[in-house]
């Protein structure tokens, strides 16, 4: 029988036997699945043992949201105690407990460098926008990568395997808002689910108004497809190289009617003022950027709201809202949080602005109605906060 340290060494041999011949040194690791709601006692047990055997991260490592915000960790219930222990051990083994799914907003990501990340939306963002070499790793494998400083060189990390195989032409007559961008990600992702079906997406006009729409597009794509990379013409780093080496196997055309049809099906369009008391509006999946949080709070101003509005973001973007009913929540995300259980006390209906969140909430929350919301106040803010995100010359 071997101890845990020995087994981690043996994992490399096992991965070799599984076909991963090479291992690459990583820039950073990002671990998903650290919420107690997800990992349960089994996850805590592994973390305890890793800590007990003196293992420490060998590279800068961050982690995903926990099951509650940091202030609630001081509570004395069982979930808070367990989550507190997870965060405590992660810190002890050297993880920077940022508890966010957008670590890329606070890090300099370098092209063609390797990242052992396991949050699918973040993986899609850094590989598609910065041309970082990463793959959708399971949480425990990114944890082990953090401890060893290297990751297996999977297929997608080989340059010749990153050339796009699907040409997607989007015949858009306007920049897409965050919901439309999410719907586009859903359409492309559900059409091409396989890992190596890398799309090259060409837009007729500037595609996304803001970075929040880009995040929405990629998070949604990563929800439906196993592929961790999308090349966006004019936006992705090195898109010219990828365009010239495209191995075109199929072509998909999407026009605004396709997107509008899906939006009509999934979304309700209204102002936040029109929503009643027992309604919860959730935004920030992926976590909103600092700029977006401030812009949104300022747009809400002194609006009188009957509904509750929860804005999820990273701890670095925390702002205390002055408006009653509006909460800025850090360090957690609705889907992996314990707050999801208290929603029924608060509302009969959840509105979300995220296709990814909609996908998961409809699976987990069976007895509440979930809808996508295009709220005038949110969309106008997110779309206008810093002007349109223009394409580079193509």
């Amino acid at each position: 029988m071997c101890d845990l340290k020995e087994r981690i060494k043996k994992l490399k041999d096992a991965l070799r036997r599984a076909g991963y011949e090479d291992f690459v040194k990583i820039e950073t690791a990002h671990i998903s699945g650290i919420s107690y709601i997800n990992v349960g006692d089994a996850g805590i047990e592994l973390l305890r043992d890793l800590h007990r055997e003196g293992l420490r991260t060998r590279t800068f490592t961050t982690c995903n949201p926990a099951c509650m915000c940091i202030e609630d960790l001081e509570r004395d219930d069982i979930e808070a105690r367990k989550q507190r222990e997870i965060v405590h051990i992660l810190k002890k083994i050297g993880v920077s407990t940022w508890l966010t799914c957008i670590p890329y907003e606070h890090l300099k990501i370098r092209q063609q460098r390797y990242y052992a990340w396991s949050e699918s939306s973040a993986v899609a963002f850094i590989s598609s926008i910065y041309d970082a070499y990463t793959d959708k790793l399971p949480g425990p494998l990114s944890l082990i990568s953090a401890l060893t400083g290297e990751m297996p060189k999977t297929e997608i990390l080989e340059e010749e395997n990153r050339y796009p195989r699907v040409l997607v032409e989007v015949i858009n007559d306007r920049c897409l808002n965050t919901v439309e961008a999410g719907v586009l990600g859903m359409i492309i992702g559900s059409q091409y689910r396989r890992k190596m079906d890398i799309p090259y997406v060409r837009f007729r006009r500037a595609p996304f108004r803001t970075i929040e729409a880009v995040k929405s597009f990629l998070a949604s794509f990563a929800t439906y497809s196993n592929c961790p990379l999308v090349i966006i013409e004019g936006l992705s780093t090195n898109y010219e190289k990828y365009r010239s080496r495209m191995v075109r196997e199929c072509k998909l055309s999407i026009d605004m009617r396709d997107i509008d049809r899906e939006v009509r099906e999934l979304a309700t369009r209204c102002s936040l003022r029109e929503l009643g008391k027992r309604t919860l509006v959730v935004t920030g999946c992926p976590h909103l950027s600092a700029h977006a949080v401030r812009a949104l709070l300022s747009a809400l101003g002194n609006t009188r709201l009957e509904s509750n509005v929860w804005i999820f973001t990273s701890r670095f973007n925390k702002v205390v809202p002055a408006l009653s009913g509006v909460r800025v929540i850090c360090d957690t995300c609705l889907f992996v949080s314990s707050y999801i259980r208290s929603i029924r006390d608060l509302s009969d209906k959840i509105y979300t602005t995220s296709i990814k969140q909609y996908y998961y909430l409809t699976k987990r929350v069976k007895d509440l109605e979930v809808r996508i919301l295009i709220a005038k106040e949110i969309e106008e803010t997110l779309n206008n906060m810093s002007g349109a995100l223009f394409l580079r010359d193509v």
Binding site: M1, C2, A14, G33, A42, E45, P138
Partner: protein, 131 residues
């Protein structure tokens, strides 16, 4: 086809009664506290045979917890090797073998099977009934 992916010690023969599934969701189908599947079958000291593990990445932790509680199977045999099974088995010290679809099809639920590791090339193995 039968390949050794991970062995926690240097045995040449691992035998046990087969518990066969097609796909397994480690988080949800498997209770680490009791070592039983959601359909009531125990996997403790059995040979667990499936095509592939799917679902939450937390699945690896479940295999680890299972082993910690002394409820681990004698071996896991899978057709399509996935990261969840691989990481979970290695950390939990559970012997792991990759088999072909033909070998998978030949395994009969509840029958006694043995994995015999090649004495010269320890990366190769074959599946036999208990003789």
């Amino acid at each position: 086809m039968c390949r050794v992916i991970y062995m926690d010690d240097s045995r040449y023969r691992i035998c046990g009664r087969a518990v066969k599934l097609s796909y397994i969701t480690l988080l949800g189908d498997l209770d680490p506290e009791t070592g039983t599947l959601s359909d009531g079958r125990s996997i403790r000291d059995r040979v667990l045979v499936y095509i592939q593990a799917v679902g939450s990445t937390v699945g690896s932790y479940v295999l680890y917890a299972l082993a910690k509680r002394g409820n681990k199977p004698r071996a896991v045999l899978c057709v399509e090797l996935d990261h969840l099974t691989l990481v979970g088995c290695v950390l939990g010290g559970i012997d792991l073998f990759q088999i072909g679809k033909e070998e998978y099809d030949r395994v009969v639920e509840g029958s006694e099977i043995c994995v015999e590791v090649d004495k010269i090339n320890r990366e190769e193995c074959h599946i036999a009934g208990d003789e």
